[in-house]
Symmetry: C2
Subunit: 276 residues, 2 copies
């Protein structure tokens, strides 16, 4: 398995405090040492750093730390390989163009059956179940909507795909286009919202401490998503199996709390149960 880290906020924010705890799980406090990747949105562009070396000791990760990039949306991933060898093309996050935007995807889990991509124009480059699942998603979204739809329609469309692929195995993922961030939970995913009044946070993976009052402005809102909580003293929300959320500008704007439910186009939930 792997671990996921996401950040969505309303003001460009440096993720280094969270990333420094997270990267210790790649060889020091945990065993997710088969490469890492981190993608920073900058407008419609994306800066991606990847390495097939452990994130805790990678010189590329050191470069990320030193550069202190501020971004509204960041997705990071540390890998413990289940399917696909340890190399660069199998390193998350994966990126594809949809509707003239960069979409970035990282997965934690293991799909026992690969989705059918025989007719898909989007094809995986590496050999992971994760990239195959993302290509399936890209193809479905492009075929369903030729032009970019509303956030609500994107939420519903990705939810349908998540529910379908979630039946093939464990499918925790984070997905973003640089404006919205979507998170789906099969087994383990948590999030926390940081906003005023700000206080101190104490990292779990080492003795790192930060006082957000030293960095944040009064209206800042920062959502952090992580496989497991990164701090000891904050109100992390544990997502349920089948839980699905959309964040935008640091706020949760759409949510299905748990268990799979079909969605209508207006965002209401169908009463019928899902047909596989």
């Amino acid at each position: 398995m792997c671990q996921l880290l996401g950040m969505n906020c309303n003001s460009p924010t440096d993720i280094v405090f969270s990333f420094e705890g997270f990267r210790r799980r790649a060889g020091i406090t945990d065993h997710h040492s088969d490469g890492f990747g981190i993608a920073f949105f900058e407008g419609k562009g994306v800066r991606v750093f990847r390495d097939d070396k452990p994130c805790s000791s990678s010189p590329i990760a050191d470069c990320v730390k030193q550069y202190h990039i501020k971004s509204l949306n960041v997705i990071a991933h540390i890998r413990k390989a289940t399917q696909g060898v340890v190399n660069l093309e199998n390193t998350h996050p994966f990126m594809r163009e949809i509707w003239g935007e960069n979409w970035v995807f990282a997965h934690n889990g293991n799909l026992k059956t690969m989705p059918d991509l025989s007719e898909s124009r989007a094809q995986p480059i590496g050999s992971t179940d994760s990239e195959a699942a993302f290509c399936y998603m890209v193809e479905k979204l492009k075929v369903r909507y030729h032009k970019k739809p509303s956030d609500q329609e994107i939420f519903n469309a990705v939810y349908d795909i998540a529910a379908e692929l979630g039946e093939l195995g464990t499918f925790n993922f984070i997905l973003s286009n640089g404006q919205i961030m979507l998170a789906h939970c099969s087994t383990h995913l948590h999030y926390v919202m940081r906003k005023a009044p700000f206080g101190k946070a104490f990292r779990i993976d080492d003795d790192g401490v930060i006082d957000f009052n030293d960095f944040a402005k009064p209206n800042d809102r920062v959502n952090i998503i992580s496989t497991f909580p990164l701090t000891k003293n904050e109100a992390w929300v544990k997502m349920e199996h089948g839980g699905f959320v959309m964040f935008k500008d640091g706020e949760k704007i759409h949510e299905v709390v748990g268990e799979y439910k079909l969605m209508e186009d207006d965002g209401t939930q169908c009463t019928q149960s899902r047909v596989a």
Copy 2:
């Protein structure tokens, strides 16, 4: 305009000697200071570094220099913006998936008319003519061949697209999938092959000197492609208007010397002239 740098070789090679001369043209020996990017293939994976700061002074470019990445195929670009503002999404090289491979593209020139992408599934993310041209190419290649064709068929297909887009303006470009490297010349593009017997090379943009005997093995073959020669004493080949070459394992395997000619599927040239 911009400047291009490409490397194709038969043994993983460190591009830093060439890159260190090239990056000086981004603010020191020339004025291509509107961002840079460099893509290193590593198997089917790609490591991309980009910055909207001048390459000569970018900390990201310093990181590239320090890391000494060895690769079989590298494409780099320093930008002097003609179309599209200076930001990350307008920074070359651009990358898209075709036939389950990463394809990387960098352009020097200026298309006066944008190609028609109204029916294209591949859409540009930024606002440059360069990315629009690449999307046009991606779409044409995916529609013409659903599965990856032979190198000769790729050469012919890209040549046809280059000839078509070359009529819309200046269209010097380098393109690679990590195995082959294609280069098309409208106005300025040069290449040099480095192989045994190796000797010294003297950089044009500073007083850098290298003796390749200190680094190369007897069978190494390295092709460097650059908008203008990077060294004073090597046999750089100046490509002609309409010239098009394919390199593989450091060798030139297909070539059209200059002027546009239609290609048959077996690689022979048609006698008829091109119809726009």
